[in-house]
């Protein structure tokens, strides 16, 4: 029976090692191990983090095997000694030389591990070590005038606005603010405070691929954590702090963005995507956002259709739109009409808009507006209740 227990204690480390050895082939390893990326990090910094991970893995695996083997040997011989009546324990209080040896050797290894990690950390977090030149090159290519002469840093240099987006975490979504375009269509730098020209999206972060880009990370309520597993990037979003985070995706792709710090009951569903794309596509994405949020081409179209129908109606409709703007309901109206458009074919939509006079549009819209505001009030009544219901519906 003694030997059974010895085998038992030798057996489990072997199982553990086998499990780790087959883990990559079973896809129990870095995200996407069995996919086209073979689990490689999608960023140069992430690859260096992985290299450090593997280095520590090799060192710890050696130590693990040696110590478990020594333990197994001590147990095996100890069991034999137990089975032998005449055998005696080795009487020893220890060995000074051994103690010195197994203090100095591990100390050297550990110190090496610690010092070897410094560079990657410094590059990721210490501001002076950020790859600023490459970040600024991206901004230059995007045509952003990022040197702000109006404000000076402590050492008298103009402030350089390197961030391309501001990511604000809140329960339970990611709100993203991009810089907008000026009247001439040039991309502006991202200022710390929201500007009328800014562009917004939710749970959808787009940034250029193949170069380091920086975001400003903040939280509007509790603590969250910005986690891009495929890029090996993580940074907490702390209420009251604005934290610069940079990363570099090395392939155009959609990556997972999620929250890694407990932020409430909905922590698990702060799901978002990070789209790394070539600079042209990024600009196009911003242009589309701009169009959706500022461009009134669609309203112009609507107005023209109305005007074609008759001058008076066109004017009445213009008044209706002006009123909406005063009431801050223009965006809602745009959404409302856009929803209609999504429901219909292009022809049906044209007919629908053609048949829409200002009075009916206003009536229909106000009814919907009231309904939705009632819903909002209900929804806000208790976030928790809503959550429970939602789960039950699932």
């Amino acid at each position: 029976m003694n030997r059974f227990w010895v085998v038992f204690f030798i057996f489990w480390p072997i199982v553990a090692i086998v499990l780790c050895a087959i883990a990559p082939s079973m896809n129990w390893w870095f995200p996407g191990t069995t996919g086209p990326t073979h689990g490689e990090a999608a960023s140069p910094l992430g690859q260096r983090i992985d290299d450090l991970f593997y280095m520590i893995l090799v060192i710890t695996a050696i130590v693990f095997i040696l110590t478990q083997a020594a333990l197994g040997f001590a147990l095996w011989t100890g069991a034999n000694r137990r089975n032998d009546e005449s055998a005696k324990s080795w009487f020893s209080h220890g060995s000074h030389n051994l103690e010195v040896m197994w203090t100095i050797v591990p100390a050297g290894v550990l110190l090496f591990i610690a010092l070897y990690q410094m560079d990657v950390w410094a590059e990721y977090r210490i501001k002076d070590n950020f790859p600023r030149e490459r970040m600024e090159a991206v901004l230059t290519r995007l045509g952003i005038d990022f040197i702000d002469e109006s404000q000076l840093t402590a050492d008298g240099q103009p402030v350089r606005r390197v961030a391309l987006a501001e990511v604000t975490a809140r329960q339970f979504e990611w709100r993203i603010r991009y810089p907008g375009f000026d009247a001439d269509g040039n991309l502006l730098p991202l200022l710390p405070d929201p500007q009328p020209t800014d562009l917004y999206s939710v749970n959808d972060l787009h940034l250029p691929v193949g170069a380091p880009v920086m975001i400003q990370l903040r939280s509007s309520d509790v603590q969250h954590s910005f986690f891009l597993p495929e890029l090996r990037i993580k940074q907490d979003a702390v209420p009251g702090l604005v934290i610069p985070v940079w990363f570099e995706a090395n392939a155009s792709n959609e990556y997972t963005l999620l929250c890694a710090e407990l932020c409430g009951w909905g922590h698990y569903k702060m799901k978002a995507q990070f789209v790394a794309e070539p600079e042209e596509e990024f600009l196009e994405y911003l242009h589309n956002l701009h169009a959706e949020q500022n461009d009134d081409a669609f309203l112009d179209h609507l107005l023209r259709l109305q005007t074609d129908a008759g001058e008076d109606e066109g004017l009445a409709f213009q008044e209706f739109l002006d009123q909406l703007e005063v009431d801050h309901n223009l965006a809602a109206f745009r959404n409302y009409v856009r929803d209609r458009r999504d429901e219909m074919t292009a022809e049906e939509f044209t007919t629908y808009v053609g048949g829409l006079d200002a009075e009916t549009a206003a009536e229909e819209f106000n009814a919907i507006l009231q309904q939705s505001s009632a819903e909002t009030a209900d929804a806000e009544e208790s976030a928790a209740d809503a959550a429970t219901e939602e789960v039950l519906e699932e």
Partner: protein
């Protein structure tokens, strides 16, 4: 050296009534519900309470595991109690309560009190040859202060505390931030304060007792490692705990929006400080705050206590395992002094590593580098201890009984927990694995794999001293076998989940595509956890039944050297018939000069008079 002026050999307690008659083996449990000031009764009170709490914490853990394996499916048995409103289904806010309270119960009501409270109380006076603690009434209070804590933690479960056991603000500081941030969080904070009082009273007592009440001849370097561990732990506790208590009060003030009527005279507007709350937060319908606080302050204060607390949760087990390993290997502990110094080093370094919990928190990155070096270096004393434990077993005549099995498991699993710590101590690697299942694997290997296995061994080892009977070996081995398999089946795969990037505290990780394929592995882990959970019923049954039907044994069933084994089982009031005199250290197993036919040489055995006594101290090790 003891400073108590006893005449050696004179009765320690002239009015001792326990001697002379056959002893009542159940004397200690019979006083279970009493305000006894006897350290042994208090130790047993702590032990039974923590064993019950182990079941509570385990049930909460099974709730967590259920949800991870079978998301949104009705939970059997516990579902009816935990989530009756949802038809047994775990709602996300219930899930946050489950892992919050699992950690809270296991840390504050199981591991800390079972080590310091149960074994610290029971063993310290017995092992140093004292008749009781220095402050018996304080000792009694330290147990009974646990009950208000249990009551308020119970309320926290009922209201659904949901900020994690770390209670990071602003989630925990603003009652509107989450369903569990209201009364539940207040109850949680009150309970932590009570448990803090309890720990502090114990810690003062242990330090005083160990310094002042050692028997004649019990020099510092003749103390068993258990006592060294308890001593160092008490120091850690005494210096770290006030910080947590202060932080807890600061958070309570942050949360006081309005005072009850009878306190309104202080300020009708409420207190509502902003230690941890910055300005400009928009949290549900919370009124705007003045702000000016810093959430990171809480993290610093919290971890300044809670990192040393990790060693509070480990060092006593290390000490007890050292004693048990030496006894079951029939060998002196290998490198006694390095063992003491490495424990002291762990405790010292333990105060300057708290920042490794905050590598991704946004604190000054230069601090990250400092904390990385100190954290990686704390692996060194841990490594030295592991080598010395293996050295202790090396060349021994090993007893493979339940005690030994649990101790070997302690060493074997602590190696894993120690090595996985290096990954997270390295800041760049921690960027990725921080707050993933890798950390969950790591701390369960240390706190369960090491500490709890050590405790299982210690229960079996010192049970005879408590009740004069031994626990069943067969049941003990079955409990060990199932727990060990269940433990590794549950927690080893968590390393892989961590590498796969699965974040912790997710009610439904499979919402994210890159984690979907990990469901079968989680189901395997949950089945292992259920096996492990039910295996604990064997322990409880073994413990309770052995009190009545266990094999009767003499005072020293393990042929161990420590002072406690020269006292009767169970020791009467005052512990020793006469003040014991200590002639040597506690690890003289298989000593060539030991009395005839014995492979042990008790600390109280007088040296041979015939042969000139060789002083076998540990000074030459």
């Amino acid at each position: 050296m003891s400073t108590i002026a006893h005449t050696p050999g004179a009765p320690a307690h002239p009015d001792d009534h326990a001697h002379g008659h056959p002893r009542d083996k159940l004397a200690l449990v019979k006083q279970l519900i009493s305000f006894s000031t006897d350290h042994k009764v208090i130790g047993v009170q702590f032990l039974l309470t923590t064993m019950f709490m182990l079941l509570v914490g385990g049930a909460l853990a099974l709730g967590v595991r259920w949800q991870l394996a079978f998301p949104w499916e009705s939970m059997p048995i516990f579902g009816a109690y935990l989530a009756s409103a949802e038809g047994g289904q775990i709602a996300p806010e219930t899930y946050t309560m489950l892992f919050t309270m699992h950690a809270t119960v296991m840390i504050f009501l199981v591991i800390i009190p079972v080590l310091a409270g149960a074994f610290g109380n029971f063993l310290i006076p017995l092992m140093i040859g004292a008749d009781d603690m220095a402050f018996p009434s304080l000792n009694m209070l330290s147990y009974w202060f646990m009950w208000p804590a249990i009551f308020f933690f119970g309320l926290a479960i009922y209201f659904g505390a949901a900020s994690g056991w770390t209670s990071y603000p602003a989630l925990s500081a603003l009652p509107q931030a989450a369903p569990g941030s209201g009364h539940a969080q207040t109850c949680w904070l009150v309970a932590v304060t009570f448990i803090g009082f309890s720990s502090m009273m114990g810690s003062i007592n242990y330090m005083t007792t160990i310094i002042n009440m050692r028997a004649p001849g019990m020099t510092l370097f003749r103390m068993p490692l258990t006592i060294w561990a308890m001593f160092i732990t008490a120091i850690l506790q005494a210096f770290a705990l006030p910080v947590l208590t202060a932080a807890g009060f600061m958070m309570v003030f942050d949360r006081l929006h309005s005072l009850p009527n009878w306190l309104a005279w202080i300020n009708p507007e409420g207190v509502h400080s902003c230690f941890f709350i910055p300005s400009g937060l928009v949290v549900n319908n919370a009124p705007p705050t003045v702000g000016g606080g810093q959430p990171l302050l809480w993290q610093h204060l919290f971890w300044f206590y809670s990192h040393p607390a990790v060693y509070i949760m480990l060092l006593p087990a290390m000490g007890m395992v050292s004693d048990m390993l030496a006894c079951m290997s029939r060998k002196p502990i290998f490198g006694y002094k390095p063992m003491v110094y490495s424990m002291a080093a762990i405790a010292g370094l333990g105060f300057i590593v708290w920042g490794h919990h905050m590598f991704t928190s946004g604190m000054n990155p230069a601090l990250g580098m400092t904390f990385m070096v100190s954290t990686i270096m704390i692996a060194l004393p841990s490594a030295i201890k592991v080598f010395n434990w293996i050295g202790t077993m090396w060349g021994g005549k090993l007893h493979f009984n339940t005690v030994m099995l649990n101790c070997v498991a302690f060493v074997s699993l602590f190696i894993v927990g120690g090595l996985s710590g290096i990954f997270m101590a390295a800041v760049p690697v921690d960027i990725y694995i921080h707050d993933t299942y890798f950390i969950v694997a790591h701390f369960h290997y240390v706190l369960f794999g090491a500490t709890l296995f050590g405790v299982f061994g210690a229960i079996q080892f010192w049970f005879p001293k408590m009740f004069g009977r031994t626990m069943s070996e067969t049941l003990g081995k079955w409990h060990f076998f199932l727990t060990f398999l269940g433990f590794n089946g549950t927690f080893f795969p968590m390393h892989l989940l961590g590498v796969a990037g699965m974040p912790r505290r997710y009610a439904d990780p499979y919402l994210h595509e890159y984690l979907e394929h990990l469901l079968p592995m989680n189901q395997f882990m949950t089945i292992s956890a259920i096996v492990m959970g039910f295996a604990q019923l064997i322990l409880i049954y073994n413990f309770i039944s052995s009190m009545f039907i266990g094999k009767e044994c003499d005072d020293n069933p393990w042929h161990a050297n420590g002072l406690e084994w020269s006292a009767p089982s169970p020791p009467g009031h005052g512990n020793f018939a006469s003040v014991p005199i200590v002639y040597r250290g506690p690890y003289e197993y298989s000593h060539p000069d030991a009395p005839d036919g014995q492979d042990y040489w008790m600390q109280t055995d007088p040296p041979h008079t015939a042969a000139p006594a060789r002083e076998h101290d540990h000074s030459h090790s």
